[in-house]
Symmetry: C2
Subunit: 166 residues, 2 copies
DNA sequence: CCAAGATTGTTCGGGTACGAACAATTAACA
DNA sequence: TGTTAATTGTTCGTACCCGAACAATCTTGG
């Protein structure tokens, strides 16, 4: 998938449509490649590692965050995972039904909910994360170690620049 | 949002959980930053440019692909946009109801469906894309021109490496 | 010609995904 | 101390999002 047409073909087409309006194609290329990349990486990890365990991408991210930081408040999970609290409520309900996590009210602040893994959830992650990481390694295997780090750094810059100016 | 904990903190936690199993944290950092970046970029563009026009991210991607390449077959839209044909069916139905696109059967192959923009759809894109591109430019404004291009190149490498070995 | 196989877009079911409105709870401040 | 403001997780409505099954259509081999 992704890209039956070359970049120059697309640029020429867009210039035709807009009749000479100045467009920053480098910015477009960067943004659209972030998305192609994210989609490709996600699909690959879902197909090869997650689906056999019956976890969606988002469910895995939630499991991972809870695994590392439990007990953790839901607002922190949403923040770390990068999705809304409304989404998180649904995913947590699914994971609770499958007996991978538990929810409990915080004794210190009645508004907060604390999330933990069950034994089954912990066992799942101990088995799953090494496989997940092996596939992550394979995914960046076309890059040198330096390039991999550069990629992470540049992406972090973009993210921070967006989240900085609210 | 994103990252209340430093990278080293997280690494130490994961090592505790797995008891010394070798983990490639550089790969994890790259993959997770692709997602943080993609989410941040998408949310920013939706909030600032797309929502005022009533378009979702996916709807905009579909509109953009059709705008550039119309008439275009649905399978090509899905491929260019990076989502499944099942997803595309729903989005096209939405866009058709809003009178932004039309569907017609291909006269040459009865299985294919050709998609075009309506005049309203074309007008929308001529107005919207320059604004979208201006925000894209702002999003990568924390990077030099060289860095922006490096980012795109590295992401393309990752995507191609995944899509190569099917 | 014609049957077996491949391809396309749609439908269906289950699971995200998010903004807005909401009730419960805590914090702020006069 | 008490009333207002802020914060949290859930609910609701709408819109994705995908795999699998499907009917319609085209291709292929004989």
């Amino acid at each position: 998938m992704a890209g039956h047409h070359t970049i120059t073909e697309t640029e020429r087409q867009v210039e035709n449509k807009l009749g000479g309006l100045p467009i920053n194609f480098t910015a477009t290329a960067a943004v659209s490649n972030i998305f192609r990349g994210a989609t490709a990486v996600r699909n690959q990890l879902e197909r090869t590692v997650l689906r056999p365990s019956g976890l969606s991408w988002t469910a895995f991210v939630v499991m991972w965050v809870v695994w590392v930081w439990e007990p953790i408040e839901t607002r922190a999970i949403a923040s770390e995972g990068g999705f809304s609290k409304a989404t998180l409520t649904g995913v947590l309900t699914t994971l609770e039904a499958r007996d991978f996590v538990t929810r409990e009210k915080s004794p210190l602040d009645g508004r907060l909910v604390l999330v933990r893994l069950t034994d089954a959830g912990r066992e799942l992650m101990e088995n799953l994360f090494p496989k997940f990481n092996a596939m992550e390694e394979e995914i960046v295997s076309g890059l040198t170690a330096d390039e991999t780090q550069t990629l992470a750094t540049l992406l972090r810059k973009v993210t921070q620049s967006i989240e900085g100016n609210d």
